[in-house]
Amino acid sequence: MKSEFGELEQKLKALNKTAPKDFTEGVIQQIESVSKEMKAESLIRVTIRGLAVAVAACLVMLLGYSYVFEGNIDLDTLSGLSVELKVDLLDIIDYGTYEN
Protein backbone atom coordinates (compact mmCIF):
# COMPACT_ATOMS: atom_id res chain seq x y z
CA MET A 1 0.00 0.00 0.00
CA LYS A 2 2.71 2.44 1.01
CA SER A 3 4.77 1.95 -2.16
CA GLU A 4 1.70 2.29 -4.40
CA PHE A 5 0.15 5.27 -2.67
CA GLY A 6 3.16 6.69 -0.82
CA GLU A 7 2.95 10.27 -2.05
CA LEU A 8 -0.83 10.40 -1.89
CA GLU A 9 -0.66 9.01 1.62
CA GLN A 10 1.61 11.84 2.69
CA LYS A 11 -0.72 14.40 1.13
CA LEU A 12 -3.70 12.83 2.89
CA LYS A 13 -1.92 13.08 6.24
CA ALA A 14 -1.71 16.81 5.65
CA LEU A 15 -5.52 16.99 5.67
CA ASN A 16 -5.36 16.46 9.41
CA LYS A 17 -7.21 19.31 11.17
CA THR A 18 -7.31 20.65 14.70
CA ALA A 19 -10.47 21.49 16.60
CA PRO A 20 -11.44 25.18 16.81
CA LYS A 21 -10.17 27.28 19.69
CA ASP A 22 -12.46 27.23 22.74
CA PHE A 23 -13.92 23.90 21.61
CA THR A 24 -13.36 22.31 25.03
CA GLU A 25 -14.92 25.27 26.86
CA GLY A 26 -17.99 25.05 24.60
CA VAL A 27 -18.39 21.35 25.28
CA ILE A 28 -17.91 21.75 29.04
CA GLN A 29 -20.56 24.49 29.19
CA GLN A 30 -23.01 22.18 27.46
CA ILE A 31 -21.98 19.28 29.67
CA GLU A 32 -22.88 21.32 32.75
CA SER A 33 -26.46 21.77 31.55
CA VAL A 34 -26.60 18.14 30.37
CA SER A 35 -25.38 17.09 33.81
CA LYS A 36 -28.26 19.01 35.45
CA GLU A 37 -30.75 17.40 33.06
CA MET A 38 -29.34 13.98 33.85
CA LYS A 39 -29.68 14.62 37.59
CA ALA A 40 -33.30 15.71 37.09
CA GLU A 41 -34.00 12.62 34.95
CA SER A 42 -32.40 10.44 37.59
CA LEU A 43 -34.56 12.05 40.30
CA ILE A 44 -37.70 11.44 38.23
CA ARG A 45 -36.71 7.80 37.70
CA VAL A 46 -36.10 7.30 41.42
CA THR A 47 -39.44 8.95 42.25
CA ILE A 48 -41.33 6.74 39.79
CA ARG A 49 -39.63 3.64 41.16
CA GLY A 50 -40.42 4.76 44.69
CA LEU A 51 -44.07 5.28 43.79
CA ALA A 52 -44.20 1.87 42.10
CA VAL A 53 -42.77 0.26 45.21
CA ALA A 54 -45.21 2.17 47.43
CA VAL A 55 -48.21 1.13 45.30
CA ALA A 56 -47.01 -2.46 45.31
CA ALA A 57 -46.55 -2.38 49.07
CA CYS A 58 -50.07 -0.96 49.53
CA LEU A 59 -51.52 -3.72 47.36
CA VAL A 60 -49.66 -6.40 49.25
CA MET A 61 -50.94 -4.97 52.53
CA LEU A 62 -54.46 -4.76 51.14
CA LEU A 63 -54.35 -8.35 49.98
CA GLY A 64 -52.87 -9.45 53.27
CA TYR A 65 -55.56 -7.60 55.18
CA SER A 66 -58.30 -9.12 53.00
CA TYR A 67 -56.82 -12.58 53.49
CA VAL A 68 -56.55 -12.29 57.27
CA PHE A 69 -59.72 -10.41 58.11
CA GLU A 70 -62.13 -11.25 55.33
CA GLY A 71 -61.48 -14.91 54.75
CA ASN A 72 -59.64 -16.83 52.09
CA ILE A 73 -59.58 -14.31 49.25
CA ASP A 74 -57.37 -14.69 46.20
CA LEU A 75 -56.56 -12.47 43.23
CA ASP A 76 -59.17 -14.14 40.98
CA THR A 77 -61.97 -13.06 43.27
CA LEU A 78 -60.65 -9.60 43.97
CA SER A 79 -63.69 -7.49 43.10
CA GLY A 80 -63.53 -4.70 40.54
CA LEU A 81 -60.26 -5.74 38.92
CA SER A 82 -60.06 -7.14 35.41
CA VAL A 83 -57.74 -10.04 34.67
CA GLU A 84 -55.37 -7.74 32.73
CA LEU A 85 -55.20 -5.26 35.58
CA LYS A 86 -54.45 -8.05 38.00
CA VAL A 87 -51.57 -9.17 35.81
CA ASP A 88 -50.26 -5.61 35.70
CA LEU A 89 -50.52 -5.33 39.45
CA LEU A 90 -48.64 -8.57 39.89
CA ASP A 91 -45.90 -7.19 37.62
CA ILE A 92 -45.71 -4.06 39.75
CA ILE A 93 -45.49 -6.17 42.88
CA ASP A 94 -42.70 -8.24 41.32
CA TYR A 95 -40.93 -5.10 40.09
CA GLY A 96 -41.17 -3.47 43.51
CA THR A 97 -39.80 -6.55 45.19
CA TYR A 98 -36.94 -6.72 42.72
CA GLU A 99 -36.15 -3.03 43.11
CA ASN A 100 -36.03 -3.43 46.88
Binding site: L8, K17, A19, T24, V27, I28, I31
Partner: protein
Amino acid sequence: MKELQDDEIISKILGGDSRAFSVIVDRYKDTIYSIIVNMTADSNMAEEIAQETFIRLYRFLDKYKGQSSLKTFVTRIAINLSLNALKKRKIKRQRNIGIEDMVHDVAGPQTNLDDQMLIQRAMKLLDDEQRSIVSMRMIEGYSTKETAIILGIKEGTVMSRLSRTMKKLKEILKELGYEK
Protein backbone atom coordinates in the same frame (compact mmCIF):
# COMPACT_ATOMS: atom_id res chain seq x y z
CA MET B 1 -5.07 15.17 36.01
CA LYS B 2 -3.70 15.20 32.44
CA GLU B 3 -1.29 12.38 33.11
CA LEU B 4 -4.08 10.05 34.28
CA GLN B 5 -5.19 7.12 32.14
CA ASP B 6 -8.61 7.24 30.47
CA ASP B 7 -10.16 4.72 32.85
CA GLU B 8 -8.96 6.69 35.89
CA ILE B 9 -10.50 9.87 34.51
CA ILE B 10 -13.73 8.02 33.73
CA SER B 11 -13.90 6.84 37.35
CA LYS B 12 -13.58 10.47 38.47
CA ILE B 13 -16.33 11.62 36.10
CA LEU B 14 -18.66 8.79 37.15
CA GLY B 15 -17.88 9.76 40.73
CA GLY B 16 -19.39 13.19 40.06
CA ASP B 17 -16.39 15.25 38.92
CA SER B 18 -17.81 16.48 35.61
CA ARG B 19 -14.92 18.96 35.18
CA ALA B 20 -12.60 15.99 34.69
CA PHE B 21 -14.38 15.47 31.40
CA SER B 22 -12.43 18.41 29.94
CA VAL B 23 -9.30 16.23 30.02
CA ILE B 24 -11.04 13.65 27.84
CA VAL B 25 -12.27 16.35 25.46
CA ASP B 26 -8.79 17.89 25.22
CA ARG B 27 -7.28 14.49 24.59
CA TYR B 28 -9.50 13.49 21.66
CA LYS B 29 -11.01 16.69 20.25
CA ASP B 30 -8.50 17.14 17.41
CA THR B 31 -8.75 13.56 16.18
CA ILE B 32 -12.53 13.55 16.37
CA TYR B 33 -12.93 16.95 14.76
CA SER B 34 -10.49 16.04 11.99
CA ILE B 35 -12.31 12.81 11.14
CA ILE B 36 -15.67 14.56 11.07
CA VAL B 37 -14.50 17.54 9.05
CA ASN B 38 -12.91 15.22 6.49
CA MET B 39 -16.13 13.20 6.32
CA THR B 40 -18.52 16.14 6.07
CA ALA B 41 -16.31 18.72 4.33
CA ASP B 42 -18.14 21.34 6.38
CA SER B 43 -16.38 22.93 9.34
CA ASN B 44 -19.55 24.27 11.00
CA MET B 45 -21.31 20.96 10.70
CA ALA B 46 -18.16 19.20 11.93
CA GLU B 47 -17.95 21.38 15.02
CA GLU B 48 -21.59 20.70 15.88
CA ILE B 49 -21.20 16.95 15.38
CA ALA B 50 -17.95 16.90 17.37
CA GLN B 51 -19.67 18.69 20.27
CA GLU B 52 -22.61 16.30 20.08
CA THR B 53 -20.14 13.39 20.05
CA PHE B 54 -18.66 14.44 23.39
CA ILE B 55 -22.08 15.14 24.88
CA ARG B 56 -23.22 11.65 23.86
CA LEU B 57 -20.02 10.24 25.31
CA TYR B 58 -20.75 11.99 28.60
CA ARG B 59 -24.34 10.76 28.66
CA PHE B 60 -23.39 7.16 27.93
CA LEU B 61 -20.11 7.01 29.78
CA ASP B 62 -21.58 4.54 32.27
CA LYS B 63 -22.23 2.19 29.32
CA TYR B 64 -18.54 2.13 28.44
CA LYS B 65 -17.20 -1.09 29.90
CA GLY B 66 -13.66 -0.89 28.57
CA GLN B 67 -13.99 -3.65 25.93
CA SER B 68 -12.25 -1.32 23.48
CA SER B 69 -10.21 1.81 24.02
CA LEU B 70 -12.04 5.04 24.81
CA LYS B 71 -10.64 6.48 21.58
CA THR B 72 -12.35 3.67 19.64
CA PHE B 73 -15.58 4.17 21.60
CA VAL B 74 -15.72 7.93 21.02
CA THR B 75 -14.72 7.58 17.36
CA ARG B 76 -17.55 5.14 16.79
CA ILE B 77 -20.00 7.71 18.18
CA ALA B 78 -18.49 10.38 15.92
CA ILE B 79 -18.69 8.18 12.81
CA ASN B 80 -22.30 7.20 13.49
CA LEU B 81 -23.35 10.80 14.09
CA SER B 82 -21.53 11.93 10.95
CA LEU B 83 -23.14 9.24 8.80
CA ASN B 84 -26.57 10.14 10.18
CA ALA B 85 -25.99 13.84 9.55
CA LEU B 86 -24.84 13.15 6.01
CA LYS B 87 -27.88 11.00 5.35
CA LYS B 88 -30.14 13.75 6.61
CA ARG B 89 -28.60 16.26 4.27
CA LYS B 90 -28.93 13.84 1.41
CA ILE B 91 -25.36 14.49 0.46
CA LYS B 92 -24.99 10.81 -0.30
CA ARG B 93 -27.68 10.97 -2.97
CA GLN B 94 -26.00 13.95 -4.62
CA ARG B 95 -22.66 12.18 -4.59
CA ASN B 96 -24.07 9.10 -6.30
CA ILE B 97 -25.22 11.03 -9.38
CA GLY B 98 -22.09 9.91 -11.18
CA ILE B 99 -18.47 10.60 -10.58
CA GLU B 100 -17.71 11.88 -14.07
CA ASP B 101 -20.47 14.49 -13.98
CA MET B 102 -19.42 15.50 -10.51
CA VAL B 103 -15.77 15.72 -11.46
CA HIS B 104 -16.62 18.23 -14.17
CA ASP B 105 -18.85 20.15 -11.78
CA VAL B 106 -16.23 20.18 -9.08
CA ALA B 107 -13.28 20.98 -11.28
CA GLY B 108 -15.18 23.56 -13.30
CA PRO B 109 -13.26 26.71 -14.05
CA GLN B 110 -10.99 26.33 -11.02
CA THR B 111 -8.10 24.68 -12.78
CA ASN B 112 -5.33 26.05 -10.58
CA LEU B 113 -6.29 24.28 -7.42
CA ASP B 114 -3.36 23.25 -5.29
CA ASP B 115 -2.84 19.60 -4.39
CA GLN B 116 -4.46 19.96 -0.99
CA MET B 117 -7.63 21.43 -2.47
CA LEU B 118 -7.71 18.81 -5.18
CA ILE B 119 -7.45 16.00 -2.66
CA GLN B 120 -10.18 17.55 -0.54
CA ARG B 121 -12.40 17.82 -3.59
CA ALA B 122 -11.62 14.26 -4.59
CA MET B 123 -12.50 13.11 -1.07
CA LYS B 124 -15.94 14.66 -1.50
CA LEU B 125 -16.53 12.32 -4.42
CA LEU B 126 -16.01 9.20 -2.36
CA ASP B 127 -19.02 7.71 -0.67
CA ASP B 128 -19.49 8.23 3.06
CA GLU B 129 -18.12 4.86 4.09
CA GLN B 130 -15.06 5.18 1.87
CA ARG B 131 -14.39 8.63 3.29
CA SER B 132 -14.65 7.33 6.84
CA ILE B 133 -12.05 4.63 6.12
CA VAL B 134 -9.65 7.09 4.48
CA SER B 135 -10.14 9.60 7.29
CA MET B 136 -9.38 7.07 9.97
CA ARG B 137 -6.66 4.99 8.36
CA MET B 138 -4.80 7.44 6.14
CA ILE B 139 -5.38 10.83 7.75
CA GLU B 140 -5.63 10.03 11.45
CA GLY B 141 -3.45 6.93 11.45
CA TYR B 142 -5.84 4.51 13.14
CA SER B 143 -4.74 0.90 12.91
CA THR B 144 -6.59 -1.59 10.76
CA LYS B 145 -7.81 -3.29 13.93
CA GLU B 146 -9.14 -0.04 15.43
CA THR B 147 -10.87 0.86 12.17
CA ALA B 148 -12.43 -2.60 11.98
CA ILE B 149 -13.78 -2.32 15.53
CA ILE B 150 -15.17 1.17 14.93
CA LEU B 151 -16.90 0.25 11.68
CA GLY B 152 -17.96 -3.19 12.91
CA ILE B 153 -16.31 -5.02 10.02
CA LYS B 154 -13.45 -7.52 9.67
CA GLU B 155 -9.83 -6.37 9.41
CA GLY B 156 -9.55 -7.99 5.98
CA THR B 157 -12.57 -6.01 4.82
CA VAL B 158 -10.95 -2.78 6.04
CA MET B 159 -7.81 -3.55 4.05
CA SER B 160 -9.65 -4.46 0.86
CA ARG B 161 -12.00 -1.46 1.11
CA LEU B 162 -9.07 0.85 1.79
CA SER B 163 -7.19 -0.49 -1.20
CA ARG B 164 -10.23 -0.05 -3.47
CA THR B 165 -10.89 3.40 -2.07
CA MET B 166 -7.32 4.56 -2.59
CA LYS B 167 -7.43 3.36 -6.19
CA LYS B 168 -10.71 5.19 -6.71
CA LEU B 169 -9.27 8.32 -5.10
CA LYS B 170 -6.31 8.15 -7.44
CA GLU B 171 -8.63 7.82 -10.44
CA ILE B 172 -10.70 10.80 -9.31
CA LEU B 173 -7.55 12.83 -8.77
CA LYS B 174 -6.39 11.97 -12.25
CA GLU B 175 -9.72 13.20 -13.62
CA LEU B 176 -9.28 16.39 -11.62
CA GLY B 177 -5.87 16.95 -13.15
CA TYR B 178 -3.67 15.76 -10.31
CA GLU B 179 -0.79 14.15 -12.18
CA LYS B 180 1.67 12.75 -9.68
